[in-house]
Structure formats: C-alpha cells, structure tokens
C-alpha cells in the first residue's frame, strides 16, 4: 500500500469521477466527492512523510522502468504542492454542497462534482509525473474539466469566459506540445531526468532554444502571466463560487510548478538563466503584471473580478521572485504559492457566502454588509490584509522574503516598486472595506443574515490558516528553503 502511494494520489480522484456518475444522487455524490478528496489529502501527507524520511520516491507505472515506462517521481517540491492542492480542494468541497444548491440545479450538481474530481486528478497528475508528455496529457485533463466548471456559472457570461479560456488554453497546451516534441526530437526521451541528462549535449542547437521558448510561452499562458492573463479575470468572475475557490487557489500554482520543474530540473538553471535573458524577461513581466493588474483591479465593480485581477498581480510577485534567480528569491516564490492559495481560498469562499445570501458581488450590494454579515466580511478583511502583506498574516511572510531576496541582489529600486505595488492592494481592499463598513445599508432591502455555517466554517479554517502560517512559519519556510536548496543543488 505504502509503495503505491504515488499512483494512488492520482487514481483515487480519477476513478471517483465515473463512480459519481453511477451514484447520480446529488446528496450522495457530494459526500463521496468530499471523502475522495480527503483521502487524496491523507495520501499527500503520507507522501510528504515518506519523502522527508527516505528522499525522492520513484514509482514505475505498471512495473515498466523508465525510460520505457512512465515514471512517477515525488520529491519535496511535488509533495509540498500535492498537500496544497488536496487540502484546498477538501476545504472548498466542505462548502460546496451549500453553495451549489443556490447556484446550480440539482441535475447539474452531479456533473459539477465529476468535472471537479477530473480537474483535481489532472492537477495531481501534473504534480506526480516524471514524464514530459504525461504532463501535457494531465494538463489537458485538468484544463478540459476546468472549462466545464467555468461554463456552469449562473450568468451567461460564464459561457463566453469559458470559450475564451478554451481557445487560449488550447493554444497554450499546443505550444507545450510543440516544445515537448522538439525536445524529443533532439534527445529521444520523454523522461524528465533523462532529458536533463541529455539536453546539455545538444544545448547550443536552435531546436532546443525553440523548444524552450515554445514551452515557456505555453506554460506562461496557463499560469496567466501578464500579458497572457486575458482569460483569467472573466473566468474567475463568472464561474460558480466553489469552482472559483478551487481554480484560483490551485490551477495557476500547478502551472508555476511546471515552470519551476522545467527551468530547474530539466533544462537546468545554467541554461535557463545564463544563455537566455530569462531573468530580465521574468522580472519585467512580473513587475508589469503587479502594476497593471493592481491598477485595473482598483476600477472593478464586480468584486469577484476585482480579486481575479489581484490574482494576476500576485502571480506577478511569484514570477518576480523566480526572476531574481537566487535561492532566497525562489523561497519567496514557493512561499507565495502556498500563501496566496490560502488568501484567495479564504476570500473567494467568503464571497461564496455573500453570493449565497445577497446573490450579487457588485460593490453596491456590499453596502452595510459589515454589520449584517460580520463573520463573512471579517474573513474578507483578514484575507485582504494578507494580500496587502500586513504583519501576522501569511502575506507578510512571503513579501518579507521577496524584499529580502531583492535587497540581497542589490535590486533595491525593485524592492521599492514591490512595496508600492502593495500600496495598490491597500486601495482595492479599502474600496471594499469602505463599502461594507462605512456605507449605510440599502433602504429597500431587508437585512441579510450571516452566511450559512457550512460556508463559514471552511472559510474560517482558511482564515485561521492565514494567521497561523503568518506566525508559525516553520513548516512553510523550512520546507521552501529545503526545496529551493535542492533545486539549486540539481542545477550545479
């Protein structure tokens, strides 16, 4: 059993999806999905324990050793992200039943869970596999499932958002396919660790450069790096609330994992950062993302879209940390991956509560909500403070490491820009706080009740995690530093 953990991690949600179709009954499916997701979470915790105790786990699928068979390889980076994805997925599912009752018809609910589980299986597959082509396949499984999830939104604009995401996502995935094809052409292998061994021999050929460029652009489309982020705001704004929670907290993070894995483990740091102006490109795009998306966020009236733009800005911080190209910078990126998932998970879950009671996320609907829904709005405020980077929240920890990394490399003008970027977050969070706490409630409507407990509890689990990991940083920082050291260790 313990030996088969890497494959169980993927196969449990993958098999749970068709079983949901057989169960049909929405009530049953809801609990079944939750159990499957919690089971996946337990597996990921066990995997991390195994990795910490015995080092990298290697699992040959069907007993065929690499490079003939597909190999699953779990090291600390994989295990760290597996825990992140499965935990957020489980917490979001706690609230799913209540929230979806309002947002979907019962017939659609079962299909929602099927797509959700497939999306989860795809994301977990990307995280476990050690085979480049397998990454593409799982990427498409998760993407196709997320297009479906987004299209289930109540508003007809969700259809249009999903269609746009489908077009851009498919272009991105095809670019990745071209990149992988060219790598195979030059090396004759698809196994990531074989690739890492054989690529240096052919490093100076144009084909390898082209493969790298195609692959990077494709992945950056998937992770919504500015200016390739156009699909993201509408997709997050109009998807069902629970789908937004799950996708905002996990999908882009997994794409960043792919980026890290290929930059560090496959191509190697030397190739990625020395032969190409990747550093400059990533830093410039990261900064532009932070500013452009934060400024656009300030002008949004749809609060879900506001926080979606803020996600694009936060991705900018992660890419900036990566672009510094130092160990501390990578630690900042890894921390922000985890922390941003906690913040956005909490905020979007609280917004699910608002949708449940108020039915709208327009800023006007928030007038007076601070008094009527104190716990929900409290959660959004703590999440917002975390986005800004106030001490005692997780946002502070990752910003601290980012600024530290920038100062270490003597890039203090950029450190100042990062702080200015945080001020922009103050503005958009303040707009919401102002509406909720300082504006009188609308006269013509009866006061809204607090969000139902089944949404509040998961929201506050994440809010408390925001504060807990902001104070006790030993788990996140310790693990991030180990991962960063090992990724740079591979490179040298």
């Amino acid at each position: 059993m313990i030996d088969h953990l890497p494959i169980l991690q993927v196969i449990v949600p993958l098999l749970a999806a068709p079983i949901c179709l057989i169960l049909r009954e929405a009530q049953l499916v809801r609990w079944f999905t939750l159990i499957a997701s919690v089971f996946a979470f337990v597996i990921s915790v066990l995997l991390l324990q195994q990795v910490q105790a015995h080092g990298t786990l290697i699992y040959s699928l069907g007993g065929w050793d690499a490079p003939i068979g597909i190999e699953y390889r779990i090291d600390q980076l994989n295990a760290y992200l597996l825990i992140l994805v499965t935990s957020i997925s489980s917490v979001a599912l706690l609230a799913a039943g209540t929230s979806l009752q309002k947002e979907l018809t019962e017939r659609k609910e079962t299909y929602f869970y099927v797509a959700y589980l497939l999306c989860l299986a795809g994301l977990l597959g990307i995280l476990t596999t050690g085979d480049a082509f397998n990454v593409f396949v799982f990427l498409e499984i998760s993407s196709l499932a997320s297009y479906t999830l987004i299209a289930m939104g109540r508003d007809r604009r969700s259809l249009w958002a999903s269609y746009q995401y489908l077009i851009m996502g498919t272009i991105g995935a095809t670019f990745i396919l071209i990149g992988i094809g060219m790598m195979y052409m030059m090396t004759g292998t698809l196994n990531m660790y074989d690739l890492a061994e054989r690529l240096p021999e052919v490093q100076q050929t144009k084909t390898v450069f082209t493969a790298f460029a195609f692959f990077m652009v494709g992945v950056c489309l998937k992770l919504a790096l500015f200016p390739l982020h156009l699909w993201l705001p509408n997709a997050y704004a109009y998807a069902p609330s629970i789908a937004t929670v799950f996708l905002a907290a996990t999908a882009t993070k997994v794409a960043i994992y792919v980026l890290l894995r290929f930059i560090f483990s496959v191509y190697g740091f030397e190739f990625s950062f020395s032969h190409l102006p990747l550093k400059e490109i990533l830093v410039a795009l990261g900064l532009m993302g932070i500013f452009a998306a934060s400024i656009v966020a300030i002008y949004q009236n749809n609060i879900k879209r506001l926080f979606a733009y803020s996600s694009v800005a936060q991705i900018g911080y992660m890419i900036l940390g990566l672009g510094i190209g130092s160990k501390t910078g990578l630690v900042a990126t890894l921390l922000h991956l985890f922390n941003h998932a906690l913040m956005k998970g909490a905020i979007f879950l609280a917004l699910a509560g608002v949708v449940y009671r108020v039915g709208s996320v327009n800023i006007k609907a928030f007038a007076g909500l601070g008094k009527q829904m104190p716990w929900t709005m409290g959660a959004i405020v703590v999440g917002g403070l975390s986005l800004i980077g106030v001490p005692l929240t997780v946002g502070f920890v990752s910003k601290w490491y980012l600024v530290l990394a920038l100062l270490e490399s003597n890039w203090w003008p950029i450190a100042i820009l990062v702080l200015v970027g945080s001020l922009l977050a103050v503005i958009y969070v303040w707009r919401l706080v102002e509406a909720a706490y300082f504006r009188p409630a609308l006269q013509d409507s009866a006061p809204y009740k607090e969000a139902p407990l089944m949404i509040l509890i998961p929201t506050w689990i994440l809010v408390l995690a925001n504060i807990y990991f902001g104070i006790d940083t030993s788990f996140t920082v310790g693990l991030s530093e180990q991962i960063s050291a090992s990724l740079f260790g591979v490179a040298k």
């Binding site: 498409e140 007809r156 259809l159 489908l166 077009i167 272009i171 094809g181 327009n362």
Partner: protein, 122 residues
C-alpha cells in the same frame, strides 16, 4: 541543404500559422474552432513526420525488416488527437450554448451584449 528538402516541416509551419491566424482574425466562434483544429493538426503532422525513417517499415519483429520508423511519436499523437477531439467537441458544445444564450455566434455581437448588460447593472 536544399530549401525544399524538408518540405514536411514547411507544410507544418504554413498550417500552423494559417490556423493561428484564423483563431485571431475571425470573429465567428465556429471559424475560430476550425482554426484551432488546423493549428493543432499541424503539430500532429510535425510529430508524425519527425519519426518517419525514409525506407523504413512499421516496427515488425522479423528478420526481413531491418529499418523501421519510430512508433513512439505516433502513439503519442494518438493521445493528442483524442485530446484534440475532446477540445473541439467541448468548444462546439459551448458555441451551441452561447448561441442559445446570446442568439449569436459572432464575437462582436456577444461583446456588445455583454457591455450593455454591464451598463444596465451600473
């Protein structure tokens, strides 16, 4: 090296760019999907042609056949074709639902209706 020697790659490039152009330039959702399919197909052709060995046969375990083409990319592309079919059908299903919801499959009409909807909510 002769300019036309590797004409298969030229076909790939032409197909890829025309597919990409259709996706960007056309406002009709169905035409966009056709462009997307052409774009994907060009990559399939790239995979298939790169593994072809001239004069090679299918990989048959027999003394008579010494030279054979690499079967692996062909298998990979079978997977990619399935993914492509799934993507296209999902895209078409979305187009049908967009037509039901908006009454049109033209990008500019949809965007105009969205703008009106947002304007009326302000």
């Amino acid at each position: 090296m002769n300019f036309l020697e590797q004409y298969n790659y030229w076909i790939v490039i032409v197909l890829m760019m025309s597919g990409f152009y259709i996706v960007i330039a056309h406002g009709n959702l169905i035409k966009k999907l056709i462009g997307l399919t052409v774009f994907q197909t060009s990559v399939f052709i790239m995979y298939i042609s790169m593994s072809k060995v001239i004069g090679g046969t299918a990989p048959i375990l027999n003394e008579a056949y010494k030279v054979y083409s690499n079967p692996l990319p062909h298998v990979l592309i079978l997977t990619a074709i399935v993914v492509g079919v799934a993507t296209t059908s999902l895209g078409l299903a979305l187009a049908v639902r967009i037509k039901e919801a908006y009454g049109s499959v033209e990008e500019d009409v949809i965007q105009e209706k969205d703008l009106q909807q947002e304007g009326s909510q302000e």
